[in-house]
């Protein structure tokens, strides 16, 4: 193996490039963007909402099986943006981990603990050559017993942060700019405002109005703490409310 520029291997496995970068991790981020789907998450005063596009590439596909929004436990949800296959692996492992946690410790896995576990797993893939990083950005939502509504985002590099609002995917940066303006004065959104901010952010960034069947919406609310995927009727209500507002 010749040295110099890492012998060209720095682009194939997660070893350092001469500039101290990990190309494989950066390419994993590109894979998330290339999926062509944008997702948004917004945290309100007593609820969290995540929204993503539902792209069904073929009319013959069963639409109900196309989803990127997964319940991990009754109380925790995960929205995956990026490579669907990697997302399903991650969800499977997360579900297992959350169930074991509940069994081992006797209480539900908190949001930040799950986010940290996912991020630590992602870090292992950036350091060990035998596994590539996953091409998924995961948004975890749930209600924490002490801290209230929580929204975490975990990326292929192993970073994880709590967010007031965030985005991932193709139009991530535009969405974040939009959300920064909306969240500038630390507004305390009600449940309806949270959902409508998330949906209208997606609409504004993609510059199209959606039908209820073209997006997926997931929420957790302080009152019952359960993770719920909204039905098309419920989504329609919010879409109508947004268009009447504008």
């Amino acid at each position: 193996m010749s040295r110099g520029s890492g012998g060209g291997y720095d682009r194939h496995i997660t070893i350092f490039s001469p500039e101290g970068r990990l190309y494989q991790v950066e390419y994993a981020f590109k894979a998330v963007k290339a999926a062509g789907v944008t997702s948004i998450g917004v945290r309100g005063k007593d609820s969290v909402c995540v929204v993503t596009q539902k792209k069904v590439p073929d009319k013959l596909l069963d639409q109900t099986s196309v989803t990127l929004l997964f319940p991990i436990t009754k109380y925790l949800g995960l929205l995956a943006t990026g490579i669907t296959a990697d997302a399903r692996t991650l969800v499977q492992q997360a579900r297992n981990e959350a169930a074991e946690f509940r069994f081992r410790y006797g209480y539900e896995m908190p949001v930040d603990v799950l986010a940290r576990w996912i991020a630590d797993k992602s870090q292992v893939y950036t350091q060990h050559a035998y596994m590539r990083p996953l091409g998924v950005v995961a948004m975890i939502l749930g209600i924490d017993e002490e801290k209230g509504p929580q929204l975490f985002k975990c990326d292929p590099a192993g970073h994880f942060f709590g967010h007031k609002a965030t985005s991932a995917g193709g139009k991530e940066q535009e969405a974040i700019n939009f959300l920064e303006k909306k969240m500038k004065n630390d507004p305390k959104f009600t449940y309806d405002e949270t959902v409508q901010t998330a949906i209208s952010a997606l609409q504004s960034v993609l510059q199209e109005d959606f039908k209820a069947s073209e997006i997926e919406v997931g929420v957790v609310r302080e009152e019952d703490k359960l993770f719920k995927v909204l039905s098309t009727d419920e989504i329609d209500e919010h879409l109508t409310a947004i268009s009447e507002r504008d």
């Binding site: 193996m1 040295r3 110099g4 890492g6 291997y9 496995i13 997660t14 070893i15 350092f16 490039s17 001469p18 500039e19 101290g20 970068r21 990990l22 945290r43 930040d112 940290r116 991020a119 630590d120 992602s122 870090q123 292992v124 950036t126 350091q127 060990h128 050559a129 035998y130 975490f152 590099a157 192993g158 970073h159 942060f161 709590g162 967010h163 007031k164 609002a165 965030t166 974040i176 959300l179 920064e180 969240m183 500038k184």
Partner: protein, 235 residues
């Protein structure tokens, strides 16, 4: 560790005798956010910039300075995810020491064991070196101590040190300002002034983190309001 397919080391010698992966890891550290540490006569202070990628990030969910034991704290420059691995391993090693000897682990020993882990990742099969340098601050029977550990696994004891983006300016500033008889409060002020030197934007209690340990031997991360108080004193 790792798959048997990768039972060869990824960090190998170049013809000139250098370990280039380690050098690249140091480059990764050098592009990380600035952090520094100062040893005073009655304690140690470590501090770091806490620049978050967006105002949408909840800064209370992020804590860069962590405690390894009640009397030892650590800060890093470089890749955050890598530092979490080292913090976890170090905490476990400290607990194992306590279980065996029923005594808190001396700072030098914890530093040595952490450095050993980092060295192993430069030689083991199928893994890359850690992209972080650590500043370990502790207070034990030998008094206040400050150690820096690099991706290669080498470590040194420092009176004051800095790492990350602004390292050369920060170190020059520290060399001028450091005195052997500095007290902890002065050290905190000096730390803040050093961070301020290379700081882009408005420094506040929300975008820096400070950790201190004094003769009471309890490592503490200052709250944003406590940091603000020190910032006012420095103005």
């Amino acid at each position: 560790m790792g798959d048997s397919q990768y039972s060869f080391s990824l960090t190998t010698f170049s013809p000139s005798g250098k370990l280039v992966q380690i050098e690249h890891a140091l480059t990764a550290v050098g592009s990380g956010q600035t952090s520094l540490g100062i040893k005073a006569v009655n304690g140690v202070v470590i501090a770091t910039e806490k620049k978050l990628p967006s105002i949408l990030v909840d800064e209370t969910s992020v804590q860069k300075i962590q405690s390894l034991t009640p009397n030892i704290g650590v800060v890093y420059s470089g890749m955050g995810p890598d530092s979490r691995v080292l913090v976890r391993k170090s905490r476990k090693q400290a607990e194992q020491y306590y279980r065996l000897y029923k005594e808190p682990i001396p700072v030098t020993q914890l530093v040595r064991e952490t450095a050993t882990v980092m060295q192993e990742f430069t030689q083991s099969g199928g893994v890359r070196p850690f992209g972080v340098s650590l500043l370990v601050a502790g207070y034990d029977d030998k008094g206040p101590q400050l150690y820096q550990v690099d991706p290669s696994g080498s470590y040194f004891s420092w009176k004051a040190s800095a790492m990350g983006k602004n390292v050369s300016n920060a170190k020059a500033f520290l060399e001028k300002r450091y005195t052997e008889d500095m007290e902890l409060d002065d050290a905190v002020h000096t730390a803040i002034l050093t961070l301020k030197e290379g700081f882009e934007g408005q420094i506040s209690g929300k975008n820096i983190e400070i950790g201190v340990i004094d003769s009471k031997r309890i490592f503490k991360v200052l709250s944003p309001s406590e940091v603000e108080d020190y910032l006012q004193e420095v103005e």
